[in-house]
Assembly symmetry: C2
Homo-oligomer: 210 residues x 2
DNA sequence: ACTGCTATTGGTCGCGTGGCCAATGGGGTA
DNA sequence: TACCCCATTGGCCACGCGACCAATAGCAGT
């Protein structure tokens, strides 16, 4: 029998508390799914009472949307950094694709699958997904366009290539919940080889630079 | 005020009733999503009491899995018929891809997206999804292999081509819940042009035969 | 016509959810 | 030091869910 902790009441500035809530909720979304974001659950993890979460998010769905946006934004910044990284487009693309292929981004794929399905029922989340798709699409298209201007890539339709790559990524991501993933060489490097073909790069270039 | 209908109790042979339940549940899954399959909901549509559904499906999750299997099987039979259709492999492939691209198969894409996400939480559904994936994969690979043997297609890796096509289909399917679908020529015919390229078919062949 | 099996009913239970609201008290401000 | 705003609490409500069970009645076989 543990003694109940003293009901210390900690009062925080609203923006700080709000950010804290979103951060926790985003973690839950990534690890366990958007449907696990619950007033009570978030409150428990934060050591506050459920009512407080409701105070900051009178509509629980808004917390879900915002959490998704938060998680997706953070992960995108990590996977697909802008020019500030000081890397050439071809290297940024290589990093992006190899990390996505090899690295442990199963949680991220799961989150996108999750959000894309749940957005069927929640209009707010639907808008958030749409916004994140747009940002990712634009970032990738811009990266490719930049590479073309530098002479690293060759294509007449940077946006088309970006879309093609993203379809491959999302298609492979659809299988992340399989307990025994189907293995085949064609699947393993699909996004990388697709990118190399569409950008007129010698086979192996991207993996070598990743 | 409508008078309550006479409580006529209709007793049906178990297999018939069971089939009826699965059929209704599959329709709900296709139209509104797997999470809308509820003992009460199915009972309402069938004009029976919720307890009866529980009688046939002591674990509600089993009804969900079975409904998915039912819906997926039916749709596959329609989209990807076997040799009994009397069509050449190239024509069967053309029909499959054009129908999937143009036709109204949004419900089916949504169902797969739905099932792939929900299978994260339900082991029974996960197994069902896996089984259906395997059936579809094998059907498509067999179709391609047959086409290769007849000289209609050219590839050294029929299964790899099937996987590639399926990744494209599933990737595009991930966007079915977007309210304003992003439009771009690269997306429009992606599966068809991919198939033509991988099978060494002249551009336009498949669409012409669809 | 009777009987037995079981499909079907009707009701109850506990759980987790989001939403709502009056009371409380922390902490910056006058 | 006293005050007051509002972040925070505690408690409640209605809802929809799956599970469970004893009672009822359709219908096939005798």
């Amino acid at each position: 029998m543990t003694s109940s902790p003293p009901p210390t009441r900690i009062r925080k500035p609203p923006e700080e508390r709000r950010a804290e809530i979103v951060r926790i909720a985003a973690r839950i979304a990534l690890e366990e799914g958007l449907e696990r974001i619950t007033l009570r659950r978030v409150a428990d993890e934060l050591g506050v009472r459920p009512g407080l979460i409701g105070h900051y998010f009178p509509a629980a769905d808004d917390l879900v949307s915002e959490s998704f946006t938060h998680a997706a934004t953070k992960e995108r910044a990590s996977l697909l950094p802008g020019e500030e990284a000081g890397l050439a487009p071809i290297d940024r693309l290589a990093r992006f694709l190899t990390r996505l292929t090899d690295g442990d981004y199963a949680d991220l794929s799961r989150l996108w699958l999750n959000a894309r399905h749940v957005s069927r029922f929640k209009t707010g989340l639907r808008a958030a997904v749409r916004a994140q798709e747009e940002l990712t699409r634009d970032a990738l298209a811009t990266l490719i366009d930049e590479g073309v201007r530098r002479g690293e890539f060759t294509t007449e339709d940077p946006l088309g290539v970006a879309l093609h790559i993203l379809v491959n990524i999302d298609g492979l991501g659809a299988y992340t919940n399989d307990d025994v993933p189907f293995d085949h060489p064609a699947l393993r490097d699909m996004t990388i080889t697709t990118a190399e073909r569409l950008l007129d790069l010698p086979v192996g270039t991207l993996r070598a630079r990743g």
